[in-house]
């Protein structure tokens, strides 16, 4: 892992609450793989004290992209950063995803969980058939659709208020029978991940991998604070930053 002083080369909002940030980070970009994440040190003062983890949404030769939603102190501070400013970044962190078992890939995204699936889809598109299920609260929260159209065979949308696609939750659209021989990657709210995890119990011919988004301490295996319970034993834990952040959902308790 590398700590790099990165320069902001593009920073724009995709919706009033969601921002896209491109950083010039030649060393980190060179080593980044889908599934991995970055720790951004947002404040030069100590409030907030910890760096903030963001999944890698895209990589080009010498730059990396993150896409984030305004949530708290850290992201509110991050959104004020301007092009030309610098951010210290540690990365790439966590394990890269393993080569998918099945040729058919299904991506299931909830809200800002779409972000890491973009880079994943870009890396898999040449050798796999990709379908996307994507749900948000409302139409204006749907982002990156133009980019996904170039990567996916089919896109199925859901909005909670029915302003676009299915009215309801994205998980309403899932049929475990149609997902046989498929590798599923999912990222979004925990409740959504749990529903996707349930597909596993309905059809053993599905592999489901979930991107976990939790509060991290160091992000690099030093502090053991990012524990997630192993499925097989209620007392054993994985660490999100070193064992994940992407987990086979048959192996963890959500």
């Amino acid at each position: 892992m590398i700590r790099e002083r990165t320069r902001i080369i593009q920073h724009q909002h995709l919706t009033p609450e969601i921002y896209s940030l491109w950083l010039s980070a030649p060393k980190i970009a060179q080593h980044s793989k889908p599934g991995q994440f970055l720790q951004l040190q947002i404040s030069e003062t100590f409030d907030p004290f910890l760096a903030r983890p963001f999944s890698i949404a895209d990589v080009q030769t010498d730059k990396v992209r993150i896409i984030y939603r305004i949530r708290g102190k850290g992201t509110n501070m991050l959104k004020t950063k301007k092009v030309g400013e610098y951010l210290s970044v540690l990365g790439p962190l966590g394990k890269a995803i393993e080569k998918p078992k099945y040729k058919k890939i299904t991506l299931i995204a909830g809200g800002i969980g779409i972000a890491p699936l973009l880079y994943l889809a870009k890396c898999l598109k040449d050798k796999y058939e990709i379908n996307l299920f994507y749900g948000t609260r409302t139409k204006k929260d749907l982002i990156l659709l133009d980019e996904f159209k170039l990567l996916c065979r089919k896109i199925s949308l859901a909005t909670e208020d029915g302003t676009k696609g299915h009215r309801g939750l994205v998980t309403d659209l899932l049929d475990s029978n149609k997902l046989s021989q498929t590798t599923v990657f999912t990222c979004g709210p925990k409740l959504m991940l749990k529903k996707v995890q349930n597909l596993l119990w309905q059809n053993s011919q599905i592999k489901v991998f979930g991107f976990l988004e939790e509060m991290l301490g160091c992000g690099c295996g030093l502090c053991f604070t990012c524990a997630v319970r192993k499925k097989e034993s209620s007392e054993d834990y994985y660490h999100i930053c070193t064992d994940g952040p992407v987990f086979d959902l048959s192996s963890i308790e959500l």
Partner: protein
């Protein structure tokens, strides 16, 4: 800058910086950082393996961190067989933090580690995250008993890491000195708790936790100064050290060495950055180090 060697007991420290227990894993990551430091203290170790507390284990407060890891560790046997061999090439003082629930447990740990290739032991009398009614380090008598039991079975360099939670650390420091510790470390994290106002429940899986980071620095610094004025014992200052100025403040307050803790979580290379900076600042202020 060539720092003056700091000699304490049977050990030599090449500069004043040590990486604190629980904030730098087992010492097998970021080796380039660890090697430049004067020492590294490994994650708290118990006789039997401990799974640790249920998540969430971390919560950020203003300029600080609440943690509730609960001494997750593989137990002393696995540590000696699987982790220690990976650390033999470290070019720094490797100090093993040990934690127990009784005097007997500390003695067993010290005996087991007596012949291992480590520089010393840090006696953790102050972890706020294990479910005992009272920490052994909250009482001068039990502090004395633990340190004495360890001293009786090992010649290794001993640091006693004390708490300032509901106890006067001067009294427990005196007890540790009387029992034969080589140095004391002040302070471990402070009790803390946070609530989620939406659920009405505590945020941490372990309910309460240990507060660390810049938020506790003035208090920790006071403890170092207060004890340092009254006791002749090498003090390792710990609590919120995040910059080179923090290090110099601790040295001015009476520390001979410092432990960098939570700041490693913010930036695992902070030890190297501080080392470079104290060189420059030390020269500017004509400080002897």
């Amino acid at each position: 800058m060539k720092f003056s060697n700091i000699k304490i007991g049977n050990l030599t420290f090449k500069n004043p910086l040590i990486l604190a227990s629980g904030t730098f894993g087992w010492g097998d990551k970021f080796i380039e950082v660890a090697n430049k430091m004067a020492g590294i203290v490994t994650k708290g170790l118990t006789i039997e393996p401990r799974k640790g507390n249920p998540p969430p284990r971390i919560f950020e407060s203003a300029s600080g961190i609440l943690n509730s890891v609960g001494l997750e560790n593989p137990g002393v046997e696995k540590f000696c067989k699987e982790i220690l061999p990976r650390l033999k090439h470290l070019k720094t003082n490797l100090i093993v933090n040990i934690a127990g629930n009784s005097v007997q447990e500390y003695r067993i740990l010290a005996e087991r580690l007596q012949h291992e290739l480590i520089a010393g032991l840090e006696i953790n009398l102050s972890c706020p995250n294990i479910a005992t009614k009272q920490m052994l380090g909250q009482n001068p008598k039990t502090t004395y008993k633990v340190v004495k039991a360890i001293r009786d079975v090992t010649k290794k360099f001993l640091i006693t890491k004390l708490t300032a939670n509901f106890v006067n650390p001067l009294l427990t420091a005196q007890a540790a000195v009387d029992a034969g510790t080589d140095a004391i470390c002040l302070i471990n994290s402070l009790y803390g708790i946070a609530f989620d106002i939406e659920t009405g429940k505590p945020v941490l899986g372990g309910i309460s936790g240990g507060l660390s980071g810049p938020a506790i620095k003035p208090f920790a610094l006071y403890c170092v100064w207060y004890v340092g004025q009254r006791l002749k014992i090498p003090i390792i200052g710990c609590g919120g050290i995040s910059t080179s100025k923090d290090v110099l403040e601790y040295l001015l307050a009476g520390s001979v060495l410092v432990e960098i803790g939570s700041a490693n979580l913010r930036n695992p290379y902070i030890g190297l950055e501080i080392l470079k900076e104290i060189d420059i600042i030390g020269r500017n202020y004509n400080l002897k180090m």
